[in-house]
């Protein structure tokens, strides 16, 4: 279990103090947990603290009882951690097998036979067995991402942290990766950070939304959807002028009778022809952000 209490993280940038995380508290149990938020919300900072790379400025973070504020605690967590960073750098001259094998060595896997089996297993899990002998420099973006997942899995981690894993993947690869993560979450904590709402909806039982370094929602994706009930409408208009009046246009569709807008907001009193619509997860996210004063800039 991951327990975060009053976590604050500040750093200095260009002579200014920036607060990346502000008195954040969160509890994460086994299974798949989604972390959603706009760019700059503090997701990557939180991931790095949980991976033992960054240190908390204030507050306490424990992972399976290990205090991440101490060197001993961080080392204990790192020994059973799988980590896929947002910006994944690799040794392009190595083959997929060699890269995963090297990462396994760095993770302290000493037994050669066991390590070989683990490398083969993790490459098989991501569907790269056939090309495991090929150099990474010849791989597509999606294949490199899969190598990244394989290295994260090679030590059979208790905690798997994946930061924006589906960025840049084609639809087929995204679905494959999501399914793999769900499968892996059956016996460990999988922490998925993303700004792609759909990825969370398709995979996570529980989630949190971060904005400006604070948690503004925790619950299930269904709870987030439910929170937007009564705040989502569709409006068909022949006018080319977008609806305003504090409404967020989530989507637009050109129809023969005009443009169909999907709107999220407090009320549509100015548009009597608007029809209330069941919300989706994206609507729930937009409504949550609006409700907390973080306007989603999509207009």
């Amino acid at each position: 279990m991951i327990k975060i209490e009053n976590l604050t993280k500040t750093y200095h940038s260009n002579g200014q103090t920036v607060t990346a995380l502000n008195a954040l508290s969160l509890t994460i149990d086994s299974g798949m947990f989604g972390l959603l938020g706009p760019n700059g919300a503090g997701k990557t900072t939180l991931m790095r603290i949980l991976a033992g790379i960054s240190l908390p400025t204030h507050g306490e973070v424990t992972v399976d009882g290990n205090n991440m504020g101490t060197e001993k605690g961080r080392m204990a967590v790192k020994a059973s951690l799988g980590y896929l960073p947002q910006e994944l750098g690799m040794y392009l001259e190595l083959s997929a097998y060699q890269f995963v094998d090297y990462m396994a060595i760095l993770k302290g896997m000493n037994d050669v036979t066991l390590r070989r089996q683990s490398v083969e297993r993790s490459l098989e899990m991501v569907g790269l067995t056939e090309v495991s002998g090929r150099k990474i420099k010849g791989f597509s973006g999606g294949m490199k991402r899969r190598v990244g997942i394989a290295q994260a899995l090679v030590n059979d981690p208790k905690l798997l942290i994946v930061d924006e894993p589906t960025a840049g993947l084609d639809p087929e690869e995204r679905i494959r990766l999501r399914n793999l993560l769900v499968k892996l979450a059956s016996n460990r904590i999988v922490l998925l950070s993303t700004h792609i709402v759909e990825d969370i909806g398709q995979t996570c039982q529980s989630m949190a939304v971060l904005a400006h370094g604070q948690v503004i929602f925790t619950g299930s994706p269904a709870d987030l959807i439910h929170s937007a009930s009564g705040h989502v409408w569709t409006l068909v208009s022949s006018s080319t002028e977008k609806p305003d009046h504090d409404l967020t246009v989530v989507s637009m569709l050109h129809l023969s009778e005009g443009i169909q807008y999907r709107l999220v907001g407090q009320s549509v009193d100015q548009y009597p022809q608007a029809q209330i619509t069941p919300p989706g997860l994206e609507d729930g996210y937009v409504w949550l952000m609006k409700d907390h004063g973080h306007e989603v800039d999509v207009n």
Partner: protein
């Protein structure tokens, strides 16, 4: 077995420009010596390569050794101590410097250059070893301090140039003489040479220790 595998991958992920640069300089000096055909200049060129060029190249390469690693974030998330990566990368550069110094000395023996003015075989090794360690420590430390490899390269090059241009002042100054990087090669018979080498060695050790502490603050480099 793990150590062998680790070493094997360490070599496979080695950036070969770190090898070609010092070796190119080595061959360049050898070619200049052969073209020159003046045996009296052999000694001068050989000691310049050993005591002046090798340390500069080592310092510059050390500044580039760590922060340019593409897997830095993955390595920081592994239980391997950061200091091990530092020692591994800087150690490779040190071995290359030693290799180049060895090649030059073999070449010197081949063309019958007498390096005995620099002292015995051990003293000759100290001529390149001590300033190399000092500039490698400086390069690593300054790159980490500034969170930028180029900072380290510029600072190392400037310090090297200033010391070279003001070598007379350094040699005469009561404190400066202990920090003159090139005393072993320029004034091998100086009574302050041993103290100078000891000070530079301790200075290098302090710089590497500081580098380890700095590199352990992993989040600074991401």
């Amino acid at each position: 077995m793990k150590k062998m595998d680790s070493l094997q991958y360490s070599l496979k992920t080695f950036r070969y420009d770190q090898l070609w640069l010092p070796i190119s300089f080595c061959f360049l000096f050898m070619i200049v010596m052969l073209i020159n055909r003046r045996p009296e200049s052999y000694y001068l060129l050989s000691r310049v390569y050993l005591g002046v060029v090798i340390p500069l190249v080592g310092g510059v390469l050390s500044a580039y050794a760590l922060l340019e690693d593409p897997t830095l974030e993955l390595r920081f998330a592994s239980p391997e101590p950061s200091s091990r990566l530092l020692l591994e990368r800087v150690g490779q550069i040190f071995l290359i410097s030693a290799f180049c110094a060895g090649i030059m000395q073999v070449f010197d023996a081949f063309v019958q250059v007498d390096l005995s003015a620099l002292g015995n075989i051990w003293h000759i090794q100290l001529v390149w070893l001590i300033p190399s360690l000092a500039l490698m420590g400086l390069g690593t430390c300054l790159a980490l301090m500034g969170k930028n490899s180029l900072n380290g390269v510029i600072c190392v090059s400037l310090i090297w140039l200033i010391e070279l241009l003001l070598r007379g002042w350094f040699a005469q100054n009561s404190i400066g003489k202990y920090f003159l990087l090139f005393m072993g090669v320029l004034i091998p018979d100086s009574p302050s040479l041993e103290a100078n080498q000891l000070v530079l060695f301790v200075f290098s050790w302090l710089l590497f220790s500081l580098s380890c502490i700095l590199f352990n603050r992993q989040e600074r480099y991401l």
